[in-house]
Symmetry: C2
Subunit: 314 residues, 2 copies
């Protein structure tokens, strides 16, 4: 029976591609493995899979009695609900260390880099396993996606180096152009239900006993969101009413290199506590009361938002 | 300010040596680091340090405001009490995944192998960093110690391969002989207070809310323990009275490849539940009522005992 390789809930390109790459690597290392996903494939990920001729991984079924490998997360909130009924063989990740525990030793490959695929690229190299041309292409796109084409503060030299080598393996000459093409697909939000947009790249955290949701939409031009902002506000109100203390949405403009912040919270001063005086600046929102505040340089949920949020909730 | 590198409480050779090796590796990777220990250096570790001309690491002080790297554990019970006041940069380990979490990404190098030094050897190789001759000697001894000279069921091909390469780097021709010499030192228990013996290689676990302690003494001949068994029983009684549900002591004979099990527990049938009918066999203990039951092949707390204990407590 193959081991199951799966990324986090609300999958993104890195989570889907890391599952595909890790399953390839593990299979070649003697652990037959198959990639799965925990939810709907987002449009930009579908574009990436299509570009390199890959089918979408199947939706994950029950884990009971199976061997499992997790990619791109190490916390229970992001993992399959029935994880405890499986045997966890290992984890590939690039996030903070989560609350998953095991009763037997496992492998854990994690680095503080911009993308899980950068970590997996390193493990391919460590074991001297060749990366197939089309998997290299997928991994390249995952790095471009997670690092916002190297504009995110989470980007490291390892990510740039891995992307360069993967582009060579995949035969991609202009990978910045490929990245822009992918983000243009990601930016096409018209006609998509607001709730789906809100939960597309969404994570719930438990902070000091409170449920705190942080969502992020990354677009090539924030003006593309003008038509959906009011509906996103409404979707946030509904999501908050489902038992959350706080719900934050980052509307990230990857060209302007900053994010507009929308917040609903039981704590009316939360944004100011997290981002300081900048988050109370109303000049930006004066023209449109649905607009939030503009936070220059805030690009990364993981680096720019979650640690500060956790510090405030502590 | 240097980063602090430290192993688990009640340090053993792997924990001390891994801290030394990881501090060397991290320093050479651009993170100035210094090894520390969380407790008294055991005699066999002192022998190993002396053999390769190394001073014992200093005892760990307060961590507040420091950067820290953990080796040989990933659970809070084994970590410094004030870990949360430090910034955790990363972990090198070979145990089950523990309950330590972080708020920022970290590196995590773990493999299901017999010794943390086998993992660290791999990371030296990954980054192409040369292992100094004397650190190679220490790491070789750590592998011999943790794998009971390759007799423990936790031993993997990676451990054997790493030991061979480290022996070459250290200029050690007969490393089995070196291992035996180390275990003879470890077996010298006469005159050591029983409580010190009990806590020398001791770990407390929280299982289903209960405090469960498992201790192990590894000797080259179990007869060497005949004179201290009654005192060990007494020390176990005292340790149990300090709020533990269960206390187990494995007296492991590395030549006979098995362990004598001594148990004190609120659950009178615990040993049978964990080890089956074998654990109720009284023939072995008929001559000496201080003796426990002999469990052939049981060599490893991590592999042969803790997972079974956890399954019973679940």
């Amino acid at each position: 029976m193959s081991a199951v390789v799966v990324g986090h809930k609300n999958p993104d390109t890195d989570s889907i591609v890391s599952a595909i790459a890790a399953a390839d690597l593990m299979s070649k290392r003697g652990v037959p493995s198959q990639p799965f996903c925990q939810g709907k494939i987002p449009p930009d990920t579908a574009f990436v899979l299509g570009s390199f001729g890959f089918p979408a991984p199947e939706l994950l079924g029950p884990l009971a009695g199976k061997k499992v490998i997790l990619v791109d997360h190490s916390d229970r909130g992001q993992a399959p609900e029935d994880l405890d009924q499986a045997e966890l063989l290992g984890i590939f990740d690039h996030h903070k260390l989560g609350d998953i525990t095991t009763s037997t030793p496992l492998f854990f490959w994690a680095q503080p880099v911009g993308c899980s695929c950068t970590v997996i690229k390193g493990v391919y190299d460590y074991y001297g396993v060749e990366i197939p041309r089309n998997i290299a292409g997928l991994m390249l796109c995952a790095i471009l996606s997670d690092t916002l084409i190297f504009r995110s503060p989470t980007t490291t030299d390892e990510d740039r180096k891995a992307a360069k080598e993967l582009a060579r393996l995949a035969g991609v000459a202009d990978y910045e152009a490929l990245g822009m093409e992918m983000f243009v697909v990601k930016s096409a939000v018209t006609g998509v239900p607001a709730r789906e947009l809100l939960f597309r790249d969404y994570k719930d955290f438990t902070m000091n006993g409170q449920k705190v949701g942080v969502s992020q939409l990354e677009v090539v031009d924030i003006k593309l969101l003008d038509g959906v902002r009011a509906d996103l506000r409404q979707a946030m109100t509904e999501a908050k009413a489902e038992g959350r203390h706080t719900i934050m949405l980052l509307l990230t403009d990857i060209m302007k290199e900053g994010s507009e912040l929308l917040v609903l919270s039981d704590d009316a001063n939360l944004a100011e506590k997290v981002f300081g005086a900048a988050a109370t600046d109303t000049t930006y929102s004066s023209g449109n009361k649905n607009k939030g505040v503009w936070l220059p340089g805030v690009m990364s949920r993981k680096k720019d938002v979650v640690p500060k949020l956790e510090a405030v909730f502590k």
